[in-house]
């Protein structure tokens, strides 16, 4: 999806945020880019083209800008993606992704171009993301780049831990801190 500034209203439009449970959001992922107003799939949209498949979503610069709705990350996860690659992510989207178990991989603009070129040449082109080695590789050419993730988050993702567990384990420390708060 070589489009810049893919915002959270495109990922999941506000009218689909009315659920009180976290399920079924994948059906409405990219709703208005994916379907006509009469719900027929738009043929030229990438998710409707059976030639493309996989667990890695590749997007243009400033992916996930806009609202804080975690529903955007839920929709991407629910659809089946586990990793999003871009040259630049919006902050809140990046946090939300990590919190729901999606790995956001930030690559250089030049490497992003290489990925899009590889996909254009062969829609079946394989991308390999190795969290442990913090590397992303275009299988056909062997071109590779390393990506950043802090060791705390990496440890969480690899072991299935989350921040809530961590915070629960330090509640006494938090309580002491709160006792000194002026607010």
């Amino acid at each position: 999806m070589p489009i810049e500034n893919v915002d959270t209203d495109q990922i999941i439009p506000a009218r689909f945020l009315k659920a009180t449970e976290r399920k079924g959001f994948g059906d409405n992922l990219f709703r208005d880019w994916r379907y006509e107003s009469d719900n027929t799939p738009k043929k030229d949209f990438v998710l409707n083209n059976p030639i493309y498949s996989g667990k890695i979503l590749v997007g243009g610069k400033n992916f996930g800008s806009g609202s804080s709705r975690e529903h955007a990350a839920w929709a991407i996860y629910d659809y089946g993606f586990r990793c999003v690659v871009s040259s630049f992510f919006a902050d809140i989207f990046k946090n939300n992704s990590l919190n729901v178990g999606i790995l956001p991989v930030t690559v250089s603009p030049a490497f992003l171009d290489k990925i899009f070129t590889a996909i254009e040449a062969d829609p079946k082109a394989e991308l390999v993301v190795d969290l442990s080695a913090q590397s992303i590789t275009i299988a056909a050419t062997g071109e590779s780049e390393s990506f950043d993730i802090n060791s705390y988050k990496k440890h969480n993702l690899m072991n299935g831990y989350d921040d809530i567990d961590y915070l629960q384990a330090m509640k006494e420390e938090i309580k002491q801190f709160a006792d000194k708060s002026i607010y």
Binding site: D7, L17, S68
Partner: protein, 468 residues
């Protein structure tokens, strides 16, 4: 021993770090947490699944706003899904002892309007909400930003979230704003200069004469849109304007507590010699009434200018062309004179009393253009009350406008206030994304003055021509 000069942001951030994790985020303490019906139900479900309770219910405040109707609020909400979300907020708040201002409550309104209005928002606080426009509260010298639902669950259950400390940016605007130039124009101008991603990774301090001379409501408009340039949040050092605004509000400190707070608040400013990772300077004289022509808030220009070419606008040519195609615009066309179908004044960006005063100043003695549908939506019941008491309602009615009831309304069009496909809306809200105001809708972001000028002329009009 000399103390290292610190920025306002450093002072507030560093005093809220409970624990630093090596090569990881800070465990960050939250003073105030706002919740609403859309991003909280799943957080409560998650907590229940883990058997957790709300740690400090008195630090969280609930209001219904995103998904509420703006007419007939006394009737049951017709959409069963919306009604279900509102019910969930009420039930969860009741169950855990969280203060809840639901539909029909006299304090109800948009979360970022009612927080400051009732003195819940104070300088030096850390404030979060599952809504990106939480940055609004930065106007008081607070660190305020939007979070996701997992983080809402963290705050409910532990009053903390895990956050890497952002980098620091200062934006200085000096000089004097011209006639008809509002805080909305200032922030749209800044975003047009920096782009919609220009401040991603940063927390912004707005400084300089323009912000010093701005009212609190104006400062809220500016900080509100910090997120639209990608910033984590924006803040402005508290001063006499801030203290005067807060004093006497219901939940503000009183008596001795007030004096003590005031002494602390006065220390909340960036020390001379403190440094930022990046700094920008702009001149107030360069700012015109602004309007957007594209599908992100960075695509804005002075209202008298023509739509730039993709080369001038920068970024990817195909994304730019996609955007103009969606809007039905062409490069180098003027914005002035473009037909407007809808006008929306309201939202957490421009839904406060000063915004309606500005709107009324142009509408007074004129008539709404026949083909324009206008939605006039106050940010809260208190604002609605002010509109009535100040005679603004009479001016609006005389000119052919109707006042609606408070809520987020057409800003995100979760309720029935949707702009139809292909129609143009001049909107005082904060986002012009594709379909933001309804599937296929086309949004032109602008100030309340530009919105008023469009409402009475039916086309994009420079409001300066209508100011006496």
């Amino acid at each position: 021993m000399s103390i290292k000069p610190a920025t306002l942001f450093d002072k507030v951030w560093d005093s809220h770090v409970v624990r630093k994790i090596e090569d990881g985020p800070d465990v960050f303490f939250i003073d105030r947490h706002f919740i609403h019906e859309v991003t909280s139900p799943v957080a409560f479900l998650g907590m229940e699944g883990r058997g957790l309770k709300v740690m400090f219910p008195e630090k969280t405040f609930a209001t219904a706003d995103h998904n509420t109707p703006t007419i007939n609020q006394h009737l049951p909400v017709a959409d069963p899904l919306s009604a279900n979300q509102l019910k969930a907020l009420e039930t969860n708040s009741g169950k855990y002892g969280i203060s809840h201002w639901g539909l029909g409550n006299p304090k109800n309104g948009i979360v970022h309007v009612v927080g400051p209005e009732n003195g819940i928002t104070l300088p030096g606080m850390t404030i979060v909400c599952g809504d990106s426009h939480t940055s609004t509260h930065g106007a008081f010298g607070a660190i305020a930003f939007g979070i996701g639902t997992s983080e809402v669950e963290m705050v409910l259950s532990s009053q903390c979230i895990m956050q890497p400390k952002p980098k620091k940016m200062r934006i200085n605007v000096n000089g004097k704003l011209g006639k008809g130039i509002t805080p909305k124009d200032v922030v749209l101008f800044i975003i047009s200069q920096l782009t919609a991603a220009g401040a991603t990774g940063y927390f912004v301090e707005f400084a300089g004469e323009v912000f010093e001379n701005m009212t609190m409501e104006g400062r809220m408009t500016v900080c509100n849109m910090s997120i639209e340039m990608g910033a984590r949040g924006g803040m402005i050092a508290p001063d006499e304007t801030t203290f005067n605004y807060i004093k006497g509000r219901e939940k503000a400190p009183q008596g001795e507590a007030w004096e003590k707070s005031l002494a602390y608040w006065k220390s909340l400013k960036t020390d001379a010699g403190a440094t930022f990772d990046i700094e920008y300077n702009y001149n107030a004289a360069d700012i015109e009434p602004m309007i957007t022509y594209g599908t992100n808030p960075g695509m804005g220009i002075g209202i008298t200018k023509n739509i730039p070419t993709s080369e001038v606008a920068g970024g990817s040519k195909s994304s730019y062309e996609k955007s103009l195609h969606y809007m039905g615009f062409n490069e180098q066309e003027p914005m002035l004179g473009k037909k407007v179908d809808y006008v929306f004044i309201g939202s957490c960006t421009n839904g406060r009393i000063e915004d309606f005063r500005a709107f009324a100043s142009i509408v007074k003695g004129r008539k709404k253009a026949d083909h324009v549908t206008a939605w006039i939506v106050p940010g809260s019941h208190i604002v609605e009350q002010q509109i009535r008491e100040e005679g603004i309602l009479d001016i609006l009615t005389e000119a052919g406008f109707q006042l609606r009831q408070p809520g987020c309304s057409a800003c995100l069009a979760m309720n029935d206030d949707k702009v139809p496909a292909g129609k143009y809306a001049v909107s005082t809200s904060n986002r012009n994304f594709e379909g933001r105001q309804g599937p296929g809708s086309r949004t032109l972001l602008a100030s309340p003055l530009v919105a008023a000028a469009a409402a009475v002329t039916g086309v994009v009009t420079d409001p300066r021509e209508l100011i006496a």
